[in-house]
Amino acid sequence: MERIKTIETRNLCDSAKNGGCGECQTSCQSACKTSCGIANQQCESKESK
């Protein structure tokens, strides 16, 4: 019986190898303007996708 279902996610440990291009949005500036939540930003690196 399958008791654990793993949802597909970006592996953060692997992203240490191909991440860090710095192209993504830098702050909350184009949206809420009063708090920064990084998790809801998009990765803008074409290579890591």
């Binding site: 019986m1 008791r3 654990i4 279902k5 793993t6 949802i7 597909e8 996610t9 970006r10 592996n11 953060l12 440990c13 992203s15 240490a16 191909n18 991440g19 860090g20 710095g22 192209e23 993504c24 949005q25 830098t26 702050s27 909350c28 500036q29 184009s30 949206a31 809420c32 303007k33 009063t34 708090s35 920064c36 939540g37 990084i38 998790a39 809801n40 930003q41 998009q42 990765c43 803008e44 690196s45 890591s48 996708k49």
Partner: protein
């Protein structure tokens, strides 16, 4: 580190350092909770006592599944990222890629809760000249290195009180961007009072995003968002915003509201936005001093938490009705989100992102404008206050001692430096109230993402 919670009929287990998300049944939920601090025998014994109807063989199978996930690095993954914490900001040191242009330190509304003190940022009223704005754009181009996409926000006060300069600056940017190898993405934040056909046509052509301030219900909106005669602005702006959004033809926008002590039941305001036909929504907790009457209180907290949960349920209901809507803080792309470098380095305020005052001073972000100690320099000389810039460059998730044991640290990345400073006097502090809200929002966002992934 893991984080477990139950919401929306799901038992969710987050593995913080790998970013894995697991949906599990009750048995696995309990076994995972016991796994790290108990021997295999103890875990199986405790689980056997709780679930007598399940065979020992089945429980052992579940335990082994957990063990396999651990061995695959998808449960209980270690945080090995600290040595990389400063890397992204080091790599991009000196590169500026986004500016917030304070086009007008003046406003045609007199909102009591305004973090920018009615647009004046605790200073004199002022508007940015074309010359200052042009120099700011040149400063951005000159300091953007190999970055191609440059973001510029027109902010205030109310930027449309200086609309001609805004238009002229965009025209200038467009005239040089190709030759400089850059692409400008403009955002306009407006309270709507001066929105007209000219503004709509211009913004829909030039702005990749517009942020439209609306607090939701008329009585809530008009409580704070009033003109200098004390008249509410809801009736005036709502039809303009409806026209504006319709004309955007699918281009990005946010209806951006603020909730305060007056409306911790902000879901009613979100419903009002939906009823008005808006689907791209943001509703932010007020940012103000603790003793301000609009400040959120401890008594508001359970109400807000419940509202966030109900909002998640509402999103899923709307999905089923074929009328989906977006809530800014619930946007999470589990497969395409930020890499670990971004997650540990946090907000780019003071390094890649700066705010420019009407007279050309540079600040780490729009929320620090008016705090003289944080003045970084100006658009002619660049950053001269390198000590302050270093504070921001070193402000990564590991710089906040309180974040070390927090499951949400790779989702918030240490949080907002301005919130931290205003709550604790230090940019590496934490704004605890905001943390509580953030964690709740992340749980809700992930639950919604899980439900959507499973097509439920």
């Amino acid at each position: 580190m893991i984080h477990q919670y139950k919401q929306g009929g799901y038992n969710i287990v987050l593995d913080i350092c790998s970013g894995s998300v697991h949906v599990v049944d009750e048995v696995a939920y309990d076994i995972i909770a016991l796994f790290e601090n108990n021997s295999r025998e103890d875990v199986l014994r405790i689980a056997g006592e709780k679930y007598p109807e399940i065979s020992a063989e089945e429980l052992a199978e579940c335990y082994d599944q957990v063990l396999e996930l651990k061995q695959a690095g998808k449960l209980f993954a270690e945080d090995s990222f600290e040595p990389m914490a400063g890397e992204l900001k080091q790599k991009t040191a000196g590169v500026v890629k986004a500016l917030c242009l304070h086009i007008a330190h003046t406003c045609n509304l007199n909102c009591e809760y305004c973090f920018a003190s009615q647009g004046k940022y605790h200073g004199e009223r002022a508007v940015m000249s074309f010359e200052v704005g042009k120099r700011a754009l040149d400063f951005l181009i000159e300091n953007s290195g190999s970055r191609r996409n440059l973001e510029v926000d027109f902010f205030g006060g109310e930027p449309l009180m200086n609309f001609q300069v805004v238009k002229d600056l965009v025209a200038y940017a467009r005239s040089v961007e190709q030759q400089k190898g850059k692409i400008f993405r403009f955002t306009l934040t407006t309270n709507g009072i001066l929105v007209d056909d000219d503004v709509i046509e211009w913004a829909n052509r030039e702005c990749s995003n517009v942020v439209l301030s609306l607090d939701g219900r008329k009585e809530i909106h008009d409580r704070y968002r009033v003109d200098y005669a004390g008249n509410g602005s809801w009736e005036k702006i709502v039809p303009k915003f409806q026209k504006f959004v319709e004309a955007r033809g699918g281009k990005d926008y946010y209806m951006r509201g603020t909730f305060t002590h007056a409306n911790p039941d902000f879901l009613n305001d979100i419903q009002q936005m939906l009823d008005l036909g808006f689907t791209e929504l943001s509703m932010e907790p007020v940012v103000c001093a603790d003793d301000d009457p609009s400040a959120l209180t401890e008594e508001d907290l359970p109400i807000i938490m419940e509202q966030y949960e109900k909002l998640a349920e509402k999103m899923l209901e709307h999905d089923k009705l074929g009328k989906p809507f977006t809530f800014y803080h619930y946007m999470i792309d589990l497969t395409g989100g930020p890499c670990i470098y971004k997650r540990i380095s946090g907000c780019g305020s003071g390094t890649e992102y700066m705010a420019v005052t009407p007279w050309g001073d540079l600040y780490p972000c729009h929320q620090f404008v008016g705090e003289e100690r944080f003045r970084l320099g100006d658009i002619w000389e660049g950053v001269t206050n390198t000590n302050i810039q270093k504070e921001f460059a070193n402000c990564n998730v590991y710089a906040h001692p309180e974040c070390r044991d927090c499951w949400a640290r790779l989702y918030c990345s240490g949080g907002c430096a301005a919130n931290a400073y205003h709550a604790t006097g230090n940019v590496t502090g934490v704004y605890e109230y905001g943390c509580k809200l953030f964690k709740k929002r992340m749980e809700c966002a992930i639950m919604v993402a899980v439900a959507r992934t499973r097509g439920e």
